[in-house]
């Protein structure tokens, strides 16, 4: 059956496997190139503080060059390739059978449409998971090479572009696209709509970060407007803390200060302290698991919906 599945969808399967495989290889290759000339931590530190090579440190500039030119290009692809792979594989899986009317043959032969669907969805989903799994590991290694001073598992830098979310996002998009394909029964509308829904879904899922993981409001030591956050953490909200400890939004703070004080730096003197809501890097795994659970639950629901649709719909 897997062989027949391959023959039916070889263009999509080969394209997605090639794209994700190439991206994985590229990530590993860039990781190796960065590691090749990785500067010493003290050199990087000197560069960050002084903007130039420190004594005995010549490799920082070429290393940063490679980082910007090569690793930067990969990052954008890491966001889109899993999504596009999921859409490309998912949207055609059922819709092509209906559009080409081959479902009439399969469904009149197969006593169980659910089994028929499972036999096409599960191998393709498994393949996608394996491909994205390899890519997520490569992306994790790349993150380690990009910032050698921090363990990639101890920073939220590059969150979502590596690790579990990379896999679960691809699978969620795939499942949604399969459902749309079953609903519409036409490849192109399913493809276009899956793309639109995925973009909306990505916007929603990114907006829901950190998925209920603990956050905290912090102010900089000096109480200034521009703040640094603890290494590896990520800011998820901004506001002002009033004297009684209440957190105000920008709009609320603006309304609370006298007219004319448009510069937030001046608000400090009205006892409004700029604060940031941050999520600490130690919650990385928790956040990843939460997002993965949400996405896999969504994927499960989409597949359940697909089973219901396929069970009830006409094969044309």
């Amino acid at each position: 059956m897997v062989w027949l599945l391959w023959k039916q969808y070889r263009f999509e399967l080969a394209s997605v496997a090639l794209a994700i495989g190439a991206l994985t290889v590229a990530a590993v290759w860039i990781t190796l190139r960065l590691d090749e000339i990785r500067p010493l931590p003290e050199c990087l530190e000197y560069w960050m503080e002084n903007g130039g090579n420190g004594p005995g440190c010549e490799d920082v500039r070429p290393w940063l060059g490679r980082l910007e030119e090569e690793a930067g290009q990969i990052t954008g692809l890491l966001l889109f390739i899993p999504m596009i792979g999921g859409i490309l594989l998912g949207s055609v899986l059922v819709s092509r059978e209906i559009e080409h009317r081959t479902a009439q043959l399969s469904w009149s032969l197969s006593a169980s449409r659910r089994r028929w669907l499972a036999e096409r969805v599960l191998p393709v989903a498994a393949l996608l998971a394996v491909l994205l799994g390899a890519l997520s590991i490569a992306a994790e290694l790349l993150q380690g090479a990009r910032d050698p001073s921090v363990d990639p598992r101890a920073t939220l830098e590059g969150y979502g572009l590596r690790g579990l979310p990379l896999v679960s996002r691809g699978l969620a998009v795939f499942s949604g696209a399969v459902l749309l394909g079953a609903l519409f029964g036409r490849q192109l509308p399913a493809l276009i709509l899956a793309l639109a829904v995925s973009v909306a879904g990505a916007w929603a899922i990114l907006g829901a970060f950190p998925y209920g993981a603990p956050t905290e409001w912090t102010a900089s030591d000096g109480g200034g407007y521009l703040m640094e956050i603890p290494e590896g953490s990520r800011a998820v909200g901004y506001g002002f803390r009033s004297e009684d400890g209440t957190i105000l939004t920008w709009d609320e703070a603006y309304a609370a200060v006298p007219t004319g004080l448009s510069d937030p730096e001046q608000w400090i003197y009205r006892n409004l302290t700029p604060v940031q809501e941050i999520v600490r890097a130690e919650h990385l795994l928790q956040i990843e698991l939460r997002e993965t659970s949400i996405l896999l639950a969504g994927a499960g629901l989409a597949l359940l919906g697909t089973f219901l649709v396929v069970d009830r719909r006409r094969p044309y």
Binding site: M1, L4, K7, Q8, R10, H100, R101, T102, A103, Q104, L105, S106, W107, S108, L109, S110, A111, S112, R113, W116, R314, P315, Y316
Partner: protein
Amino acid sequence: MVDGSAPVPALEAGGLSKRYRRGVLALQAVDLTVAAGSITGLVGPNAAGKSTLMKTFVGFERPTAGEVRVHGVDPWRDRAGALDRLGYVPQSPSLYRSLTVREHLDLAAHVRPGFDHVSAGEHLSDIDIPLHSRPSSLSGGQQAQVMLAIALGTGADVLLLDEPLASLDPLARTEFLALLRSAIRERRATVLLTSHIVTDIEQICDRLIVLGIGRILFDDALATAPAVHRALAGYQTVPDGLVEVGRFPDDSGEPIILLRTPEGSGTASSGEQVARPATLDEIVKGYLVAGRRLHRAAATCCARWCGSSGSSTASSWRAWL
């Protein structure tokens, strides 16, 4: 039957109606029983409801009203139970472009327990269809043959063949019918075959059903149908002892009147001596014309009565239409 009860028909439809979402009424209160082992031809014009009837038996369409059964099993409620007894050839060949003929047989063997891969392959080899070829390299007739071979390979005792001959040339039609005939003889299968071509039905079927405007207009055994029907050429009055069914032009434009003996009457009458025996083609055309005339009459009555909503007359005409 050991217990004395009536044998379960292979196919059964009772009060079957199907209305599509756009309001098109494809089938109206169709009652049909196809006995096991019979070969029934279903004839009708386009949009008569033939394919819809087939699809309700396969479980692809859900009846709006009434019910269908395959060997006593409702295909909508117990799809597996019904499909287990069915082999289906859809109107348009539904072959995978990317798979070879052999791979189609592999696929069928995978999804259908008990599929006879060997005999299906042999059927196709006998008619010189290479198993390594793809559908794109096969003619329409060969594709239909592949679909039939798959349906036969299932070993199902009921075959639903939805206009499999439509796109075939005369030779391909003959080959298709020969393959079908030998397969039916081997296993005593029940066949419901739709077609536009009456001569094909005549060659293979033992019963004819004419379906038009979603209703069964005629249903009789092929052996007895010509005996009770007569055709009269030209504009003539209907002879005594015969009932007019419908008037239609023949191929040269000459009007033909299809007549039938009233039910229960004897075979000999003065009218029957005037009119010649009707051909099957004439019988089909006569009933289709009669169905169309009835539909027009109903539409006219509805135009008059259907405006007065709620009246029993209006609802009767609406129901008819």
